[in-house]
């Protein structure tokens, strides 16, 4: 069953195309890594699906439902990590669909929040403020929020950037669990080792789709080289991240 269809999606920032002519069908329950050099448009692709970036051309359709079935975790930089808000309140936002802006959070919801925190290994952290958490703990909190969103399509943008190994391993466990629950997961990553280890299929992006399919095939040396040269033909060479050197 199809979860999500992209048809010739183009997103521009000013006159500058961030992604161009991206088409494809994501089946329900797919677990896909979105990979590409810096500036390839990984974040933009996720943002356009999440409805945060405006699409200049093409269309995105969700089967059977609209964006409401979707949960999106932006890159860490977008979040005020020193914001004076409690862990409980952040996770509670995951219940937005049910409680919205005005309804009262019930005892039942509080129990769900505590459960979700327990699942990500932060039992009893409810009253802590975000500022007192480590980067790894904050990411666990955001995964707990994702969990409560109970979405059919989950978009993760570089969720393990600057996150310790233990947390990364634990959160990959959670991603596997979502995969078993037949949720569709798109995850932008730059660490190719992680991709090869955890993702059956990969979308290799360099503004356009370079390769899409079985991870080993998509990440073949020839494809990686092509992705890099495609981007460099547009820009002067930028400093590359390690994984691409």
């Amino acid at each position: 069953m199809t979860a999500l269809t992209l048809q010739r999606v183009t997103v521009r920032y000013g006159a500058y195309p961030a992604i161009e002519d991206v088409s494809g069908v994501f089946g329900q329950g797919a677990l896909i890594a979105v990979v590409g050099p810096n500036g390839a448009g990984k974040s933009t692709l996720l943002k356009s699906i999440a409805g945060v970036a405006e699409i200049a051309d093409g269309s995105i359709s969700f089967s059977g439902a609209d964006r409401r079935v979707l949960a999106y975790l932006p890159q860490k930089a977008d979040i005020g990590s020193n914001f004076p808000i409690s862990v409980r309140d952040v996770v509670a936002a995951g219940l937005w669909r049910r409680y919205g802006a005005f309804r009262c959070i019930t005892a039942h919801a509080n129990a769900e929040i505590s459960d979700a925190l327990g699942t990500v290994g932060l039992l009893g952290f409810e009253a802590r403020t975000i500022g007192s958490l480590s980067a790894g703990q904050l990411q666990r909190v955001l995964f707990a929020r994702l969990m409560l969103q109970d979405a059919g399509v989950i978009l993760l943008d570089e969720p393990f950037n600057g996150i310790d190994a233990k947390t990364t391993a634990d959160l990959f466990g959670l991603i596997r669990r979502w995969h078993k629950e037949r949720r569709t997961i798109l995850c932008a990553l730059h660490d190719l080792e992680q991709v090869r280890e955890h993702f059956p299929s990969t979308l290799l992006l360099a503004r356009r789709i370079v390769a899409w399919g079985d991870t080993d095939m998509a990440l073949s040396p020839a494809n990686l080289l092509r992705a890099r040269s495609l981007l460099e033909s547009w820009d002067p060479p930028a400093p590359r991240s390690k994984a691409w050197a």
Binding site: A50, G51, V52, P74, D78, G80, F83, S86, A93, A101
Partner: protein, 292 residues
């Protein structure tokens, strides 16, 4: 001189001091949460700009009705809301950031306001509008302050959740289907209302001080929005009380005295607050490996 003479007698014996105190307390009630959110949203300067933007409207009101409160209020309110909406629109439709567009608007507003008042009023009128006259607040002004505090607290209680979420993680709210812009405009509207409330008492140039100074000072004492707002309100109320007493006893203008009292709390907070980086830096460093 007993404590009674210093702290209570002025309010017991003089009606204008009582009214000034009530005005300060009313302003403090709502400016605590508004100021806290302004600071958290990195909009302190925007508060300043909006305060200036009130002046030309109030000046036009002054041309029509003199110091008649409804004219001043409606004029100021209209001007403040227009500038808030315009700044939002400029930001959304052009690449100018909101603080920059407000920064561009408010000198114009200030200059225009001063010009209009000078056309038809004295320097003293100008001073009143710029720096307020809290010792002259009448019952109508008190009702206005109390009414605005009430409306602000009720509206804030209603939209608190989306407002905080939009502030903490705007991307999350946008992905949920948004409404962020609407809450933002509502918040700007409330900010203008509160500046209007403070305008009569403290003047356009200083009313924002009672909003921002306590809120910034509070960040050195607490780490959670609710407590931040409560502390900010307490600091604002205390500053009002202390400022009024100082102004009474040593015969200085009360608006500046109140703002300076808040300023003193701010400096003390920077020096002594448990979350002040400064106090940590001044303590002997034992954990740092590289004491450069």
């Amino acid at each position: 001189m007993t404590l009674y003479d210093v702290a209570l007698a002025p309010f017991v014996e003089y009606g204008f001091m009582r009214r000034a105190l009530v005005a300060c307390l009313g302003l403090s009630l709502s400016s605590g949460i508004i100021g806290t959110l302004l600071v958290l949203r990195r909009m302190s300067l925007m508060g300043d700009a909006l305060a200036h933007a009130i002046l030309p409207g109030a000046a036009l009101g002054f041309l029509i009705g003199g110091f008649w409160l409804p004219a001043l209020t409606l004029g100021g309110l209209a001007a403040g809301l227009v500038v808030a909406l315009l700044a939002g629109a400029v930001t959304r439709t052009t690449r100018v950031r909101e603080d920059a567009s407000l920064g561009a608007t408010y000198p114009i507003a200030l200059a225009f306001g001063v010009l209009v008042i000078s056309l038809n009023g004295s320097t003293i009128d100008l001073m009143h509008l710029l720096f307020g006259s809290i010792l002259a607040v009448d019952d109508m002004a008190l009702f206005l302050v109390a009414g605005i505090a009430t409306v602000t607290l009720l509206v804030m209680a209603t939209v608190y959740r989306p407002l905080v979420l939009e502030c903490f993680d705007p991307g999350f709210l946008a992905a949920l289907g948004g409404g962020g812009a609407m809450y933002h405009q509502l918040f700007l509207g409330l900010t203008v209302l509160n500046l209007i409330a403070g305008f009569q008492a403290l003047g356009t140039l200083m009313t924002v001080g009672l909003m921002i100074l306590p809120a910034v000072a509070a960040t050195f004492w607490a780490r959670e929005i609710g407590s931040l707002a409560l502390i900010a309100t307490s600091i604002a109320a205390t500053s009002g009380l202390v400022g009024l007493l100082i102004s009474f006893h040593i015969d200085v203008p009360s608006g500046p005295a109140i703002i300076l009292a808040a300023g003193a709390v701010f400096v003390l907070s920077v020096l002594l607050g448990p979350h002040a980086d400064l106090s940590r830096r001044l303590r002997p460093q034992t954990t740092r490996l590289d004491p450069t």
